[in-house]
Structure formats: C-alpha cells, structure tokens
C-alpha cells in the first residue's frame, strides 16, 4: 500500500490521522515538524503528503515551497491541513496556487473522510483534478 507522510506537530492529530490511515491499510510516516517532514519526504518517497500549516520553526507554507522546489519531491501530491487559526485558512487557500492539491479544515472532517479523499487522489493518478470530498 502506498505510503502517506503526515507532517503535523500536534501529537493528538498525529496519532488520529496515523490511526485513520493505518486502519485503512496505508503505510504511514509521521513528522513532527517541517524539517523532519522535508527529510522524510525526500528520503521516504511518500505517495502523498498531508501537511499541517501551523507548525513551529517552519510552517506548512515554507515546507510546501521547499517541496515544490526540490525535484525529488515536487511531484508528490500535497494536501494542506488547517485549523482556521487566524491566517491559516487564507494560507491554505493560497497554498492551492502554490502547488497544493487540496486543503482540509481538520475540525470539519471525520478522519475517514480524509482517507477517502486521499484514496481518490491516489486512484485518480497524479496531477488530476482533486476530487471534492462530499460532506456527510
């Protein structure tokens, strides 16, 4: 199964998404900050990256920039995660112009919905139009 890289600083969120994807059968790698995320993205070769925006030291936008700049990582689809903390929603929307495929407001979605979305992205192949996840 494909490998998903989750870049998220909050352990609660980390564990939640990790479980969601693991239980769905994916291989999951976790990074607690931007640096680690970039490393693991380069090294690990994930099929998709879930990227939290609000992170200390290096935030999601910066990571995204790096990912897109790096030849090894620029083709990996990226989904931004946000909690609508001031500015992060705008950043998330802006990220779509910077190469991110989607953004998700964490609190609005059940974890399995996120998994569903990821599955659809991976199934529809790279660089395809991101399917909009239906809200329940």
């Amino acid at each position: 199964m494909a490998k998903i890289l989750i870049v998220e600083d909050d352990p609660l969120m980390q564990r939640m998404y990790q479980k969601a994807f693991t239980l769905a059968g994916y291989e999951v790698e976790v990074a607690g900050d931007g640096r680690e995320g970039l490393e693991k993205a380069t090294r690990g070769g994930p099929a998709l990256i879930l990227l939290d925006i609000m992170m200390p030291k290096m935030n999601g936008m910066e990571v995204l920039k790096e990912l897109r700049a790096n030849a090894e990582t620029q083709s990996i689809p990226v989904v931004m995660l946000t909690n609508i903390t001031s500015g992060s929603l705008e950043a998330a929307k802006h990220a779509l112009t910077k190469g991110a495929l989607e953004y998700i407001v964490k609190s609005d979605y059940e974890p399995q919905e996120v998994v569903q979305m990821v599955r659809k992205i991976l199934e529809s192949g790279p660089r395809d139009k991101a399917p909009h996840v239906d809200k329940e």
């Binding site: 969601a20 001031s86 964490k106 609190s107 139009k129």
Partner: protein, 758 residues
C-alpha cells in the same frame, strides 16, 4: 452755560442788535425824508428869496427909469427954469419915496452933476467918480444901467448903482439931456436875507460874499472870497440844488443842509450872476430824525426786556423743563431703574420726543428682560455643559482661535498625568509632541476642513489614545470657527482587550479545535474501524454521543469565531460569480440525508427563465444556505422545505419556505439577534437548537456581501419563510473574463500542471 441763559443772551443780543439796526434805519430814513423835504423847502425858500431880491432890484430898475421921467428934473437939466433948490427938494423926496436911495445924482449931458442929494457933489464932474462915470456912460449907451454890488466911494456903503438916461420928452427929438444915477441902499436887500430863517449868503459872480444874515452865525463874511469852494462854483454856474455840506465846506463851519440857487433876474432886471446859499445845520434840520430814532430805541428796550423775559419763561417751561425731566429720567434708567418713564405733557415735538423715549425705554426693558432670561438659560446651559464635560470619561479640552486653552476637564488632566494647574497651548503642544501629534497642525487642519478629524490610535506615554478634533462653529454662519475641541479617549484598555481577543481567538481556534478534532476524529474512528468491538448498544451510544458532542462543540467554536471576526470586520468577502442554483443544489445534497430521515421533502423550484449570477462570496453564500436550509429542516416535522430563486431589478432573492413549527410574534422580534434565545428563561432554553448565533451570522454575512436577510412570514405551526438577497453580478462585455473564482483557479492550476508534465 445753562440753556436758559444762552437763550436769554441770544434773545437780548438779537433784540439789541435788531433795535439798534431798526433805530438806525428809522433814523436814516427819517433823515433822508427830512433832507428831502427840508431840502425841498429850503431850495424853494432860496428861490423865493433870490426872486424877492431880484424883484426888489427890478423895482429899483423901474424906479430909476421913473425918476428919469421926472418932469422937474428934465426941465432942470434942459435949463428950463426949475431951480436947484426945488430940484434938490424933489430929489430928496424921491430919494426916500423911491429906492430908498442912498444917493441920487442928476448929471447933465456934459457929465457935470447938476443936482445931488448930498451937497458936496454938486458941480463936480463925473470923472471924479469912476463908479458913477461907468453908470453915466452906460446909461447914455443903453438907456438904463445897473451895477454889481460895489462899495460906494462917496458913501462908503455897499450899494448897487442904477442909472438911466433922461430925455427931454417935451422936445420932438427927445434929446438926451442927462442921466440920473442912484445908489441903492444895500441894507434893504440885506433885510430880505434877515427874514430868512436859515443862514443866507449872497455871493456875487466872483464868489465873493456880498451879503449874509446872522442866523446861526455871527461871523462877518462880507467880501470874503469863496470862489475856491466847489459847491460855490456850482452855485455860480447856475446849479439849483441842495446838499449836505461838511463843516469845512459850509459858511457857518458846521455840517449843514445847504440849498443854493443862482440869480435869475426878473424881467428886464437881468441880475449880476449872483448866487444865494441857504444853510441849516443838520443837527437842527435832522433833530426830529434823531429824536425819532432815540424814541424808537427807548420804546423798544422795555419791549425787548419783556420779550426776553417771556421767552425765557416760555423756553424754560416748554423746552428746558421737559429736557431736564428727560435727562433725569435717562439717568435714573441708566442707573438701573428700567421702570421709569417720562411724563408726556403735550403733543408737540417735545411731547413726541417724550413718547418716543418712553417707547424706547419699554423696548429696552423688554430686551433687557429677555436678555436676562437668555443669560439664565446660557448659565444653565453652561452649568450643564460643565457638569457633563467635567464628568466625561474622555479627556476634553478646547483651544480657542487665539490658542487660549479655555476648558480642560479632569479626565484630560488624568491623561496628561502632571497635576499642573494651568495648561497652556505651548505646554500641551510639547506634551503631545513625543506621540507625533502636532496640535497646531491638528487645529489648522480642523479649521481648514471644517470637519472633525480623528487620529485612530496614538501612543502616549504608556497609554494608547484615540484623538478626536472637532471644529467649533458658530451656529448662525457656518463660516466662523471659534476654536477646536479635542477629545482624547484612553483606548489602552480597549486596545489591550483587542489584543487579548486576537490572541484569544488565535489561541482558541487552535487550542480548542485541536482537542475537539481529536475527540471527534477518534470517536469517529472507533465507530468506523471498531464497530464489531462496540457490540454493546450502550457502548455504541456512548461513542456516538461523544462524537456528536464534539461536533456540537466544534460548531460552537466555529460560530463564535465567525461572529467575532465578522463583527471586527476581519472577514473579507470575495467577489465571485456565484450560480445560486448550483449552490442550492449542492446544499440540498448535503442536507437531504437529514431531511430524508424525517421524511421531509427538500426541493428547489425551478426558476423561470435564466437566472443571472450573483456577485458574492461563494463559500459564505453556501454557509448561509446551509444555515437556512438546515434550520428549515431542523424545525420541520412534517411536510418539507421548498426553495425559490427570483431575480428582479439587479437583485437576486432566495426564499426558503418550510412547513415547520413556525414562531410566535415575540420570537420573531428576536430573530437575527446575536443571542436569539436570550429572551427565554435560562432553564427553559432549548439548548439543542445550537448557539443561537446562526441567523445572526447569516445576517452579518449577507449584509457583508451587500444583501439583506429577513423573515418574510411565519405563523405558529404553519411554517416560516426566510428570504435573503444578493446583488446581481454586473454584466461584463462578451468575451471578457470576470474575476476568477476558486474552482476556475484550481482548474487553471491543474491544467497547467497537466500540460507541463503531460
């Protein structure tokens, strides 16, 4: 000087002058009249007197001719018997009876005096007496002769010598036999002059006085030569007149009225070119005039005095007393007694003045009273304002146009910090300078713009202030700015609060949401992946409740965040082309499950015609739709929800009709309020109905996008109809792309990516 005195003096002076002038005029005119009449009379008298003299001398002329006819004398001269003694006797008689003659002489043709009235002359030849000789020769030539006045050599007396030739009338030839010579006695003529009341002077043709009387003068003028005098010349050249002569000119050495005439002769007596001057001293002649003048003046004096006195009294009563009264009343009024009035005692100008004055005073009184009222009002106003200003929680001070600080309230002092008693403009200017506020510029700007000017935020010491500067305009003409009012609001706390809020929301979003998401997510995972482990119904229910609770909490957090951001205006609405139909359909999709669970219909009525796109924020519009449609489904138990779209006049409207429980009029009033349930009792609140901020958020959103939202109708158990409107997107020209929305942008991105890798 008092008015009465002035007036009296004026009257006296005028009267005095008038009477003097009158006196003089009267005197003059009388004098002139007198001169005229007396002159006339005098001239007449002169003429008459001269005439008398002429007649007298004419008679002598005749006399001598008569004597020349005396028979006795002729016979004597013809040597015809008559003896000398009887001739002498005759001649003596004739001398008295005729003439009178001083001397009569009978001279024969040989020039020998044959008989005379004085013995010594007999027998003497005529050559011995030159005067008589001229008379003798002239008589022989012209038959009769008279001389000018001469002094007789024989007698030494002034006389006029008459002579006439004597002819023998008895002889046929009437030969000349001799001449009769008579010396006329001059005093007779002088007597005529004596009869004249004026001073008379008889002048001969050479201007020598030949006679005068003694009226007015005893001076002996006889034989004095006055030919040098001008007027004498006039007399002698035949003028007839009268004039005033100065003392130097007149004969009596006084000023005189003189009349003069020249000798005109009488019949055959041609006269000797004499002149007669009559003089009367003017002092006597014009005495009546002077008298009249003086009498007039004397008569006028008492009249004047009486008139002045009367005038004085009159003026005092009619003018001065009223003026005085007016003055005193004015003074009383000026001193403060506005009730005083002047007595009006007449209808004339003074009376009018009094009435006008009273009117004026009444007006003054009224004005004063109304002013007093106004002042009281102003004082009350002032007290109110002062109380208000002093107790304002805002700092307040006023700068006058002249840069005087007129008001500075306690709150301002607090802000300024120092307890200085008197803040001057310069001090304030300096105090504000570190904060970057130029007071002078602020005032100038306000004055120039005539509008308030706000400095939103300025750091002042350890505080933050918001400064309002307002120009103070006089009401009447909005041109005059009398000063600038400055309000300083200490917004430090507010700013802190704002910061705290920002921080709070920053924190809250993240800090609340993360655990909530974790709760929701994990509960959801349990339900999804460990369903078989949750065989126990209670356990399943518990997990479900945990899950639902977390969602509710998340929604609450979302609502609060939305509201605060909307209220703070920190949400920007995108302007996108929104296809409402599509959006509504999407929403229906999301909500239809819940509707189906309750067996409700949920449909969109197909709109008539083509619906234009709205100009709005797509996500936010979706949010509104979700809220309204969600609410509609939530509050309906049977029936369903129907949605309509209509377009009219560049406005798109969406109706959400439900057949639900509706709401009472009371609750309708609370709609769209921040905390809708606020009106209900705290314990009976239906908390399942969410935070109560849903509609409030919708209102903020819709209005933020330029639309309106309201409840069209609702009735208990009959359902409700909500409607919101959005502006129609302005039609752009064909071919032009309008502002890209989210999806088109994503599409564009993806297309770009496809082509680059493709």
């Amino acid at each position: 000087m008092k008015l009465s005195v002035k007036v009296t003096l004026l009257i006296l002076v005028t009267a005095a002058i008038t009477s003097l002038v009158a006196g003089i005029l009267v005197f003059n005119s009388t004098r002139v009249a007198l001169q005229q009449s007396i002159g006339d009379q005098q001239r007449e008298l002169a003429r008459q007197t001269m005439d008398k003299i002429d007649r007298l001398l004419y008679e002598r002329y005749l006399d001598i001719l008569e004597i020349a006819e005396e028979e006795d004398l002729i016979r004597f001269l013809s040597l015809d018997g008559t003896d000398l003694a009887s001739v002498k006797q005759k001649m003596d008689k004739l001398r008295i009876v005729s003439g009178p003659w001083d001397v009569l002489s009978l001279v024969d043709e040989d020039g020998i005096a044959m008989a005379t009235t004085y013995d010594e002359g007999v027998g003497k030849p005529i050559e011995e007496k030159p005067q008589d000789r001229i008379a003798y020769k002239s008589a022989l030539e012209t038959n009769v002769y008279f001389s000018d006045l001469v002094v007789s050599e024989e007698t030494g007396k002034p006389t006029i010598i008459f002579s006439a030739s004597m002819r023998n009338k008895f002889d046929v030839d009437r030969p000349v036999v001799g001449v009769i010579i008579g010396h006329y006695s001059w005093p007779v003529v002088l007597e005529i002059l004596e009869d004249v009341s004026a001073h008379a002077v008889l002048l001969n043709s050479k201007g020598v006085v030949i006679g005068h009387n003694t009226s007015y003068s005893d001076a002996d003028l006889f034989f004095k030569n006055f030919s040098g005098e001008d007027f004498v010349q006039e007399v002698l050249i035949g003028e007839f007149g009268s004039e005033i002569l100065s003392p130097g000119q007149s004969f009596i050495e006084e000023e005189v009225l003189a009349s003069y005439t020249s000798q005109l002769g009488h019949l055959d007596y041609a006269g000797s070119g004499w002149g007669l001057v009559l003089e009367v001293p003017t002092s006597i002649a014009f005495a009546p005039a002077t008298q009249t003048g003086v009498n007039l003046v004397l008569l006028l004096i008492p009249i004047i005095v009486l008139a002045s006195f009367t005038a004085l009294v009159l003026i005092t009563r009619v003018v001065i007393r009223p003026i005085d009264s007016l003055t005193r009343t004015s003074q009383a009024i000026a001193a403060g007694d506005l009730n005083r009035r002047v007595q009006v005692t007449s209808k004339d100008e003074i009376g009018q003045l009094a009435m006008a004055f009273n009117e004026m005073t009444t007006q003054l009184q009224q004005s004063y009273e109304s002013l007093e009222e106004k002042v009281k009002e102003l004082q009350a106003e002032h007290a109110r304002l002062k109380a208000s200003i002093d107790n304002l929680p805002l700092g307040y001070f006023i700068i006058e146009a002249s840069h005087n600080i007129v008001v500075l309230n306690p709150a301002m002092r607090e802000i300024l910090g120092s307890r200085e008693k008197k803040w001057t403009f310069q001090a304030l200017q300096k105090r504000f300078q570190p904060s970057g506020i130029d007071l002078r510029q602020l005032c100038a700007h306000c004055r120039g713009e005539k509008k308030p000017f706000i400095v939103k935020e300025v750091a002042f010491d350890d505080k933050f202030l918001r400064i309002f500067s307002v120009p103070i305009l006089m009401d009447q003409d909005h041109e005059e700015i009398i000063g600038t009012a400055i309000l300083a609001e200490d917004i430090t706390e507010a700013k802190l609060l704002e910061r705290l809020k920002e921080e709070f929301f920053a924190v809250a979003s993240h800090e609340l949401r993360t655990p909530l998401t974790a709760i929701r997510g994990n509960a959801s995972l349990l339900q999804y992946h460990y369903a078989e482990k949750l065989e126990d119904e209670d356990m399943r229910e518990m997990i479900s409740d945990i899950h639902d609770a977390s969602i509710r909490l998340i929604e609450i957090v979302n609502d609060f965040l939305d509201v605060s951001r909307l209220e703070q205006g920190r949400i920007t609405f995108k302007k996108e082309l929104v296809d409402l139909k599509t959006l509504i359909r999407d929403t229906i999709q999301e909500v239809k499950g819940t509707a189906a669970d309750k067996s409700l219909y949920l449909k969109l009525e197909e709109p008539e015609g083509k619906m234009p796109k709205a100009l709005a924020d797509k996500d936010r519009t979706k949010q509104v739709l979700i809220n309204l449609i969600g609410n509609a489904v939530k509050f309906t138990e049977k029936g369903g929800v129907r949605i309509e779209i209509r377009s009219h006049d560049k406005i798109l409207r969406v109706w959400v009709h439900d057949t639900g429980i509706g709401m009472s009029k009371k609750n309708q009033k609370l709609l769209f309020r921040k905390f809708q349930h606020a009106g209900e009792k705290i314990l009976t609140r239906d908390v399942t109905r969410g935070t109560g901020m849903g509609l409030y958020i919708c209102k903020l959103l819709v209005e933020g996008m330029g639309g309106k939202i309201y409840l069209e109708r609702s009735a208990m158990n009959k359902g409700s109809s909500f409607v919101f409107s959005l502006p129609v997107a302005p039609t752009v020209g064909a071919g032009q792309t309008s502002m890209p929305d989210e999806s088109t942008r994503r599409k564009a991105n993806q297309e770009k990516e496809i082509s680059s890798t493709g």
